[in-house]
């Protein structure tokens, strides 16, 4: 997993160096198991295809005998579905590991609202742990 993140990071930084769009997002996702908050960093082409890495975790989760923190990290692929002036719709596929060891794939759909040319918010629906999830994001296009 670390190797994948490292390789993707190098790929992203090389693209940033060549003046392409780098997108940083904060995100919160409400899943059947609780709310996870996190961060993602990715590269986005001019036609809005995107590829990046993400990490999200529950801030705190108490179980009977100890405190565990569910997390989900991996890579995402974003595909444009439709686009208007300030609105855009995407299909999103996230793949990675939940709680370090467990392979997890989460497909979803996202609606993005541009507040300015670089700043915006997005609302998504997805499938996590066999149930629907909803998410909210704030994003900034860095370069």
């Amino acid at each position: 997993m670390k190797a994948i993140v490292t390789v993707v990071s190098f790929f992203l930084f090389s693209l940033v160096a060549s003046g392409q769009n780098m997108v940083v997002q904060t995100q919160s996702e409400w899943t059947v198991a609780g709310i996870q908050h996190g961060l993602s960093v990715g590269y986005e082409t001019r036609s809005s295809w995107g590829l990046g890495v993400y990490y999200q975790a529950e801030l705190e989760r108490e179980s009977e005998d100890n405190v565990v923190r569910d997390d989900f990290q991996g890579i995402y692929l974003q595909a444009p579905v439709a686009k208007a002036e300030k609105l855009a719709f995407f299909a999103l596929l996230r793949a990675g590991f939940a709680n370090n060891n467990f392979v997890a794939i989460a497909p979803g759909l996202e609606t993005r609202v541009h507040i300015s040319s670089r700043l915006g918010t997005a609302f998504g629906m997805g499938l996590r742990m066999g149930c629907a999830s909803v998410s909210g994001r704030l994003f900034v296009k860095m370069f």
Binding site: E29, F97, A98, F102, V103, G120, G136, L138
Partner: protein
């Protein structure tokens, strides 16, 4: 501009501070039709934590009568295959059988292709019971209601990988003698 920003923040809060789903909405009701082994509906899911915790409720359809030879054959309730393993190689599930006029719950595992089973308790019909399987380095810990935990050997598997879920299945060799209903609510 300000209006859009406020709208966006409100939507963000709205979508991330919803109330949990009603309890009943998370219950999955399975049926194994007469003459069949597999339950419906079918799901494809994977385990995403080192503990599987769920509640299951059986009703009167869990009562059946076979010849003695088949009566003590374990039906499968719920569990998972271990890391990247086929479930007859490495897996952990709860099993159940109607035996001695009671609904017996068993721990049912495969470790390196060797099957083992151990009694863990008795479930009451029409009452939800709590089940838990915890994955440890070299063992599974089965917990059922307030009964003493049962420890079962775990095979040699990887840590990182796919742990696919194993849903209710009738048998053993014999298919369901009539429609069998079971409700499962995954807690974690």
């Amino acid at each position: 501009m300000l209006r859009i920003l406020i709208y966006a923040l409100l939507m963000h809060l709205l979508l991330t501070s919803c109330e949990p789903l009603p309890e009943d909405a998370r219950v999955r009701r399975f049926v194994i039709r007469k003459g069949e082994h597999y339950s419906k509906p079918r799901y494809v899911e994977t385990l995403q934590a080192n503990k599987l915790v769920f509640e299951a409720t059986f009703d009167e359809t869990a009562v059946y009568r076979f010849d003695d030879y088949y009566q003590d054959s374990a039906n499968k309730l719920f569990g998972f295959s271990d890391c990247n393993s086929e479930h007859h190689e490495n897996s952990a599930r709860f099993g159940w059988m109607w035996f001695n006029d009671r609904l017996e719950i068993h721990a049912y595992c495969y470790a390196n292709g060797v099957r083992s089973s151990q009694f863990v308790g008795v479930a009451n019909l029409n009452e939800p019971a709590r089940y838990e399987i915890e994955i440890k380095d070299s063992e599974y810990v089965f917990r059922f209601n307030d009964n003493p935990p049962v420890v079962m050997e775990r095979g040699n598997t990887c840590d990182k990988g796919v742990y696919y879920m194993l849903w209710p299945y009738f048998g053993g060799e014999m298919p369901a003698p009539h429609d069998v209903h079971v409700a499962i609510r995954v807690l974690h």
